[in-house]
């Protein structure tokens, strides 16, 4: 017998339901039936086993068990070095934060949360904390530090920077052609949920609804057996939203209850240093997201529970995302001391990880939990899904290790794909002293959460689950890059490139993936490919596939060109200021880029002036804003700045002209009422309108909100209103925590 099978059997023997199944089979055998006598003894047992109803459960268990026994690959020394480096950095930052906050790693909550404390209400006291580490440092570690070290180590090819991924860990990265074969089921022609209907079809909406219903019925049928392998194939074509929770749950083998119980233990009494950081992270990311803001409390609970779940580091399939930081076990009243923390692989006796999950959260970590809150709205059902999905897929997105499909390899795959699909754009970026990965890094690390709308995320993650691989995330990232490649070529500065990729929320994930993988502009006839893939499907899949084969619906010439996908969600009538999105005019490299670029004629003396950008140094990384915030030149230029010498002494400036003064056509120029009338400052206002956020800090905050006082003013004056927060009113007294002091 095979070793694997032996091991699965051994694991099966440890499960309670195995023995119940055995018992049930025995009962079934002993029951007198006519046809039980026919056939051999083995067949009879098989029949009885099937009749006992435990077959599906045993099958599912064996599948999940086999899945978890996949061999891992060996770490390469350089990646190992980076892994250790990352953990050391985290430890350093944690110690620093602990000193700043004057808070030990673990402490007993000063005032334990109890049920009568009204947990529903947000706690009033302000906590100030900061993020431990942001993605910039991870990015730098992966690209700069790791590469330089590799270059130094190998040293046989001086000068050449080694590519990420393949050269580091010897893992083969799939090329575009291999990806097409691997993700053949993504090909257009199969009926996919999440692909908008073709506009040509007359009753396209009804078709889509029909497909959805068909898929739901199929899903319900498959859910009866709940065999993960079948459900995964179902998920490759998209899961109907009403079944998503169950299908994901079955695919992940997530069990309810116990996991959450364990994780939530001690959440009210003990407080880790990372708790407040996570809360801050939720407040910054989830609570500010248009799709997820109703769920901020749920997401907070999910993330906190995950960080306290000691199982996580064991369950993660690619190994713990980082080398855990180990601290001593908490003694009765006080937590472990600062000096005891070390970076090591396993926790010994009387030691535990910091935090118990072993994953120190980076900025943006809470993004992972958002779609699960959207998916289920209840902590008990959301948490097993979240933990299962995190351990299987999401943890790979930020773990530095030599395993296949971890961060380094994914980044490598992204670089390889962009180089293959849009080589000129990549070269252009390199010439601008930046790289495509710089803009795509946070897409990859957060799995596109916060960058795409919730629906698209769920569609993408359906496929991730179905194909059992996170490779699709960098593939989609490369597709987005290729989509905007033409615009990248038109960009002349790093900031313009940043602007291009600042908002990708109009992207439809699945059609774009299809276009990228199977688009005819890549020189492959998708139908050839489709047939090729169809021939290769093994038997097990074909039963499911036959049901899905809606491919004969219509002729598919090519799915969407880049501009189609851009235009899909956009209102062309929207003005430039209305969106953070680069407008459609950007598609032609002429118009807006010229507006962006200062003309030499602006300068009266015809000097060439360089524009200065000031970067505030902060830990200002957010998923939507990769580079430190940039102030545009538009903020500075007022009309008077461009006055000619002597303009101020013109008599017309001191007369109040009539508002509607008739303009003379002969010689005399119209002198308007407003300063801006003298010069054409439309370029300035265009710039200002284009970057509303850039002037926000200077102008908008000072102005009153047009609809009334702004939040800041209200907060300042809140004690004066009898209607709002009158109990908080401490007139004339100084408030210090819960005490009121008389000055």
């Amino acid at each position: 017998m095979d070793d694997d099978v032996k091991e699965v059997l051994a694991a099966l023997r440890r499960e309670a339901f195995f023995w119940r199944a055995k018992q049930a089979t025995k009962d079934q055998l002993l029951r007198p039936l006519e046809d039980a006598t026919s056939g051999t003894e083995r067949e009879a047992v098989e029949r009885a086993f099937a009749a006992s109803g435990f077959r599906d459960k045993v099958k599912a268990f064996a599948f999940l068990r086999l899945r978890s026994m996949r061999p891992g690959t060996q770490d390469s020394p350089s990646v190992d070095w980076a892994r250790r480096q990352w953990s050391e950095l985290l430890l350093q930052r944690l110690q620093k934060l602990s000193q700043e906050q004057r808070q030990p790693f673990l402490r007993r909550r000063p005032k334990p949360l109890t049920s009568e404390d009204n947990p529903g209400k947000p706690r009033e006291e302000e906590v100030s904390t900061r993020h431990i580490v942001d993605l910039n440092s991870l990015y730098n570690l992966i690209t700069r530090d790791l590469r330089t070290r590799l270059a130094r180590d190998s040293s046989n090819r001086p000068g050449a920077m080694p590519a990420l991924g393949s050269e580091m860990s010897g893992i083969h990265l799939r090329s575009l052609e291999e990806l097409r074969l691997r993700y053949g089921e993504l090909a257009p022609g199969y009926g996919h949920l999440g692909v908008p209907e073709l506009p040509e079809a007359r009753d396209a909406r009804a078709e889509a609804a029909k497909l959805e219903m068909k898929r739901r019925r199929l899903g319900q049928k498959l859910l009866v057996n709940a065999y993960p392998a079948e459900l995964q194939i179902l998920a490759r074509f998209g899961v109907s939203p009403s079944l998503r929770r169950e299908v994901w749950g079955a695919c992940l083998g997530a069990k309810h209850g116990a996991a959450l119980q364990e994780a939530a233990r001690g959440i009210c009494e003990w407080e880790w240093l990372t708790d407040d950081v996570l809360r801050l992270d939720v407040a910054e990311h989830c609570a500010n997201d248009v799709s997820y803001f109703p769920f901020d409390e749920l997401v907070e609970a999910l993330v906190l529970a995950l960080s306290r779940d000691p199982q996580v580091s064991k369950l993660c399939e690619s190994g713990s995302p980082q080398i855990p930081i180990v601290v001593g076990e908490a003694v009765a009243q006080r937590g472990p001391a600062l000096s005891e923390a070390v970076v090591k692989d396993t926790a010994g006796e009387g030691e535990q990880f910091l935090p118990p999950s072993g994953v120190v959260p980076f900025k943006g970590f809470s993004n992972y939990a958002c779609p699960f809150a959207f998916l289920s709205d209840r902590l008990e059902t959301a948490y097993p899904l979240f933990r299962g999905f995190y351990c299987r897929h999401l943890s790979r997105l930020h773990s530095i290790s030599g395993q296949a499909e971890t961060l380094v390899t994914l980044c490598g795959l992204f670089e390889q794909l962009t180089a293959q699909a849009a080589p000129r754009a990549v070269q252009h970026l390199l010439a601008l002293d930046t790289s495509p990965l710089r803009y795509a890094f946070h897409w990859i690390v957060t799995g596109f959460v916060g960058c795409l709308p919730a629906e698209q995320i769920l569609h993408l993650w359906d496929r991730v689950l179905g194909f059992d691989s996170v490779e699709l995330v960098p593939v989609l990232a490369a597709a987005v890059f290729a989509l905007r490649a033409r615009l990248v070529l038109a960009a002349r500065r790093q900031e313009e490139v940043q602007l291009l990729f600042a908002d990708v929320s109009c992207v439809k994930a699945i059609p774009l993936l299809q276009a990228f993988l199977f688009g005819s502009d890549l020189g492959v006839d998708p139908w050839d490919l489709f047939r090729e893939v169809n021939g290769q499907i093994p038997d097990g899949r074909s039963t499911v596939l036959k049901e899905h084969h809606v491919g004969s619906v219509g002729f598919w010439s090519r799915s969407f060109s880049a501009s189609d996908v851009v235009a899909m969600r956009r209102t062309p009538t929207r003005r430039v200021i209305d969106s953070r999105q680069p407008p459609e005019e950007l598609l032609s490299p002429k118009s807006t880029m010229e507006v962006l670029t200062p003309k030499a004629t602006l300068d009266p003396a015809n000097r060439r002036s360089r524009l200065h950008y000031t970067c505030r140094i902060e830990d200002g990384f957010s998923p939507t804003n990769f580079l430190p915030s940039v102030t545009t030149p538009g903020t500075k230029s007022r009309a008077l700045d461009d006055w000619r010498v002597g303009e101020g002494s013109r008599i017309m400036n001191y007369l109040q002209p009539k508002k509607y003064r008739p303009m003379s056509l002969y010689g005399e120029a119209f002198q308007g009422k407003w300063n801006t009338d003298w010069h054409d400052v439309s370029h300035i206002s265009a710039l200002r309108q284009k970057y509303p956020w850039a002037r926000e800090s200077i102008e908008l905050k000072a102005l009153p909100h047009p609809e009334g006082p702004n939040a800041q003013e209200i907060r300042r004056n809140r004690n004066f209103g009898p209607s709002h927060g009158a109990d908080k009113c401490v007139r004339g007294m100084i408030r210090c925590g819960s005490l009121c002091m008389i000055p």
Partner: protein, 462 residues
């Protein structure tokens, strides 16, 4: 997105139709931008306009004293308050309910457009105070055993001003007295000696309020309460023509919902108005607490039974239609008028929609970028439906994001075979649809033989 129509249809004409259209606009927000972007011209002239987007006051003060040309449109009906004032709406709905019951009794086999129960389900139990105080007390005592909570809303105020919740009769005792005009009739002429006191009393005079059974078990999302804002366009009341916009949004309250008596006075929990929520410490202007209707539907589809969700959206559509049908007879039809209503609807735990209020001038100023986009698209589609440029044929079932809900005395809806009964909350495919519509209309226009220039009806040439 009207530029698709402009490109395909308008450009075929020898004179661009949008150039002739003059508008006045009392607001300087999204609607102004939309009107500008369509290429209409703003006019200063009081009377020479094709479209006047006015405020409600103008309608009350000026509209009765002027005469409008056939082509001129105004965005309010003369007595829109029949629908939009809380007490009148209650009155109208009740009357329609009685009438439907009567008709039903007279001819039970007749299949009317709306069953009588429909009207009953429209709106929670409501009384007008102080007029119906005694009726209210009766109902209050009946419901007290269930621990019912009631909400008081001033009739004439908006944005959550003056609203409070109560569960004891003593809290509304000041509404017990008769209204002032009745008392004056009773007491006859009284010498006005103490002027100061008179004024004082006048201030204490109970303001007209409506009292409603408070929905104590609303549907919660993420533990928070929300209400929906839907947009409905009525272009005519006889025959009733109703368009329903696919998108809308849910407004969330900031704090976790609870029905504790201690929290009854906390406006943050119970009121979802933006004007109230803005005062919250943690209010964030960037997201504005608004959730897209499509997100809501998607979330509900994932967490609940899809059949129930479809039913809910159909019910919402019904509630809207019922309320409009109940005021149809009362409303003074005027072919110059149209109205864009903002419907406030709440959903209870058992997936039943409740009509809270109808606004005749829903807020058109946006607080976020997505909000702006949504409202811009909405208003653009309003103008497309009104069809100043004479693009349309008048038989379209969907124009941009607007679906025809009721036309010529029949409901218009999705095909009977479809799984969903309402297009509300569907993905808003207005761009796609408008493009298709424009191409279709352009084809029609090309096929038509151009009439001789003298026979062109309607449009004045300049």
């Amino acid at each position: 997105m009207s530029d698709q129509l402009r490109k395909h249809v308008g450009s075929q004409r020898d004179h661009p139709p949008w150039k002739d259209i003059k508008f006045r606009c009392a607001f300087h927000n999204t609607i102004y931008d939309v009107l500008k972007s369509r290429g209409f011209r703003e006019t200063e002239n009081e009377m020479d306009f094709d479209l006047f987007w006015c405020d409600k006051e103008w309608i009350h003060e000026v509209f009765d004293h002027i005469h409008l040309q056939a082509h001129q449109r105004v965005n309010h009906f003369r007595n829109h308050y029949e629908l939009t004032r809380k007490d009148l709406l209650v009155k109208n709905i009740r009357r329609a309910q009685r009438q439907a019951l009567k008709e039903h009794r007279c001819s039970p086999c007749r299949v009317g457009p709306i069953p009588a129960q429909g009207f009953a389900a429209c709106s929670p139990t409501t009384f007008v105070l102080p007029l119906e105080y005694s009726m209210f007390v009766e109902e209050f005592k009946k419901q007290q055993a269930n621990g019912a909570i009631w909400i008081m809303k001033p009739v004439g105020k908006s944005q959550g001003r003056g609203i409070f919740l109560f569960d004891k009769l003593s809290q509304v005792s000041s509404w017990r007295q008769d209204p002032k005009w009745m008392r004056i009739q009773k007491e006859g002429e009284k010498p006005k000696l103490r002027n100061g006191d008179e004024e004082e009393e006048e201030k204490k005079e109970a303001e007209p309020y409506v009292v409603q059974r408070y929905l104590s078990d609303p549907l919660l999302i993420g533990g928070k309460k929300f209400d929906l804002r839907l947009y409905v366009l009525v272009t005519s009341y006889s025959p009733l023509t109703v368009y329903l916009y696919r998108s809308g949004f849910a407004r969330f309250s900031h704090a976790r919902f609870s029905m504790d008596t201690a929290d009854l006075s906390d406006a943050m929990i119970h009121l979802t108005n933006v004007a109230v929520q803005k005062h919250n410490d943690h209010y964030d202007e960037k997201r504005g607490g608004k959730w897209d209707l499509h997100s809501l539907k998607m979330h509900l589809m994932m967490t609940e039974d899809p059949k129930k969700v479809h039913q809910l959206f159909e019910d919402m559509q019904n509630v809207i239609l019922f309320s409009l049908l109940s005021v149809q007879k009362v409303m003074i039809q005027d072919k110059h008028c149209f109205e864009l209503y903002g419907y406030d609807i709440m959903i209870s735990k058992d997936f039943k929609p409740w009509l809270i209020e109808v606004n005749a001038s829903p807020s058109l100023s946006a607080n976020t970028v997505t909000d702006y986009e949504m409202k811009f698209a909405l208003l653009d589609d309003v103008l497309t439906v009104l069809d100043f440029e004479k693009y349309l044929q008048g038989t379209e079932d969907q124009i941009g994001g607007f679906d025809v809900l009721y036309r010529n005395g029949v409901r218009v809806g999705p095909p009977a075979t479809a799984a969903y009964r309402s297009r509300l909350g569907c993905c808003n495919n207005r761009e796609e649809q408008l493009r298709r519509l424009a191409q279709h209309l352009a084809g029609e226009e090309r096929n038509r033989t151009p009439p001789p220039p003298s026979a062109v009806p309607g449009r004045r040439r300049r």
